[in-house]
Amino acid sequence: MSSLILTIRESVRYRGRSGHYSWIAHRLSGLAILGFLVLHVWDTANAHFYPELYAWSIAVFKHPVFAVGEIGVMAAVLYHAFNGIRITILDFKPELWKYQKRSATLVWVLFAVIFIPIGLYMFIEFTARCGELGAACWQFPRLSDFIG
């Protein structure tokens, strides 16, 4: 445990500047996507294996907690994709390393330009939907309504 805390503290403290922040963001976004992905894949397989359970789970995923998480996953996928392309290009074209700092900034700008309108759109769409539902928007659906 103390080694985990040490790892986290030293990961943030190391001052590699722009490339260091890209590295942290790439790791965190990757782990976040993986957490969602594993849940999503096993859950979606239930559409075939256990449709009633699947129907309940997607009703749960309409809760505001997951709606906000969905916007987070969108952000993570977009950053991870753009920065992944940067890593791949720099790995295969080492002569471009002299632009590594500029490329890290470019990825952040590209991410902001593409994510901000998409994230806003998703948030507005969700608030409109939740507003229509009223109090029901905040209720978790009961499993017993779907199975049994």
Binding site: V41, W42, A55, A81, I85, P141
Partner: protein
């Protein structure tokens, strides 16, 4: 004082192709594929469609065609190994005991195979008619 311009020299190095090198190349290649498949999936399902409209009927309409089934199976085939190998890379940075790492590698490999097979069977065998029947009488 003269300034020295750093130059990068190229030299061909014979690299033995072992598992770690294939894993490294796989991350780059699958990453390019996922740029299309995963970002495309996010835009199609979470922006153009909305998870607010997601129901069993919606899934039945989507997986009515082998085109969408194939898209999702390809996404599965690239995303799960890419993600789990990424996790393996992160763990390998912090776990220095080769024995522990070997156990983790085996567990993660089994997890990848099990997940891909289970979900691919689920997508392939998904029957839209059966799903529509199951959806009848369910809330939402």
């Amino acid at each position: 004082m003269t300034t020295v311009t750093p130059t990068i020299t190229h030299r061909k190095v014979k690299v033995k192709f072992n598992f770690e090198r294939y894993a490294y190349l796989f991350m780059r290649m699958s990453g390019l594929v996922l740029l299309i498949l995963a970002v495309g999936h996010m835009v199609i399902q979470h922006v153009l469609n909305s998870s607010g409209n997601l129901t069993l009927i919606f899934v039945a309409n989507q997986w009515n065609s082998w085109g969408w089934k194939a898209y999702d199976i390809f996404l599965l085939l690239f995303a799960i190994p890419h993600g789990i190998n990424g996790l393996r890379n992160v763990l390998a940075d912090y776990i220095h005991n080769p024995g522990t790492m070997k156990v983790i590698n085996i567990v993660l490999a089994i997890f990848v195979v099990a997940t891909v097979i289970w979900a691919a069977i689920g997508i392939s065998l998904f029957d839209p008619e059966a799903a529509r029947q199951a959806a009848q009488g369910l809330p939402g």
